[in-house]
Symmetry: C2
Subunit: 190 residues, 2 copies
DNA sequence: AACTAACCTAATTACTATTAGGTTAGCGGA
DNA sequence: TCCGCTAACCTAATAGTAATTAGGTTAGTT
């Protein structure tokens, strides 16, 4: 319901109704609407991290690990169609909810930047453990937002196969990698 | 304020206050909050269309027109920092507001798909005037969402120059073109 | 028999869009 | 000069919505 209608649009009364109970029961289980929202986000985050853990630091070469990770992501989206909207997109609820989303999006961006930086043979990384190179971060953000948009678009076109989605998504990642590898030309100070 | 706080988060009382008036004055000028919202969206749409008209159907080659259009887009974002959030992103307000955004995003996606299809020497287009090829549409959606994400990210990093943003954005467009036609790249430095 | 989990109906509270009704100031015409 | 007319503004309701809580019932469990 949060994915369908946004934070404000999802009313406790209707959440309770669709669960077959009344509002006070919701409050027997959650401190507040925001608490419910936070727990849903955290559950999703946990599932995604658990799912990706095996792909992201395995010993297989990137040419196998990355397609496997993308495919796992597409499977997750397929089996959790609310996730792209609620987990990846929403940024307009309460200030607290927005802060959670900005944190999540930032984590995703940094993870992608680390992957790009690591896979790109060490090019264009500055600090090592701190802030990534801005151009890496920009490339990562384009990837993140692009993949999120693709997943959201997919919701409205369920007839599109997962293979097609994965193919496009992989192109985004490959070209991103290629771009970073070739990319000193737009590094700051160059 | 809609960009800052979302549709629900922007209260008429505060909108009026920041304008130096009281709520009834807002209703002297707009039928409702939704009407105000719609007019803001339509103004932005008009400005963008007017701005792009000269680039999109000119006679210059794509290698000049597309960078010029992207640069114009970046200038618009720079001078209207609220635009990426309110115009391109928000999807969680009232159902009517969501419908407006979905329409706008759909128009942008179709426009990008048409550009990709047209510039890609006619490859992969099916109908001509109706629905584009799904793979074209997917590539367009990745571009649209990626550019939107990049613009939104830029809001938090105003120290990044427009040139850097344009360079990345151009590569994104190149990704789409590459994907569709494997055409020759015209990114800077090539 | 005490305890707890799960559930209910019926307030309560707070917020916020919207409107009612009225005041003031400028302005064109009789 | 005086008279409507209108634009822009105000204070003070109104009204609907929605989160949250008060207080209590029932059924199972130790």
């Amino acid at each position: 319901m949060f994915a369908e209608s946004g934070y404000h649009g999802a009313a406790i009364a209707e959440i309770a109704h669709r669960s077959g109970v009344t509002p006070p029961v919701v409050y027997d289980h959650f401190d507040s609407k925001l608490d419910l929202y936070r727990r849903l986000l955290e559950r999703t985050r946990g599932e995604l991290l658990e799912m990706w853990a095996e792909y992201l630091d395995g010993s297989a070469p990137a040419s196998e690990r990355i397609p496997a990770a993308i495919d796992a992501w597409a499977r997750y989206v397929q089996s959790h169609p609310f996730a792209p909207r609620m987990y990846f997109v929403e940024t307009t609820g309460l200030p607290e909810a927005r802060a959670m989303h900005e944190e999540i999006q930032g984590q995703a961006r940094l993870a992608l930047a680390a992957i790009l930086g690591g896979e790109a043979a060490g090019l264009a990384t500055t600090g090592g453990d701190g802030e990534p190179d801005p151009s890496l971060e920009m490339a990562a953000e384009v990837m993140r937002a692009g993949l999120t948009g693709l997943a959201t678009w997919w919701l409205g076109r369920p007839e599109v196969s997962r293979e097609q989605i994965v193919a496009i998504a992989l192109d985004v990642v490959w070209v991103g990698l290629e771009r970073v590898s070739a990319g000193e030309r737009w590094s700051p100070g160059a």
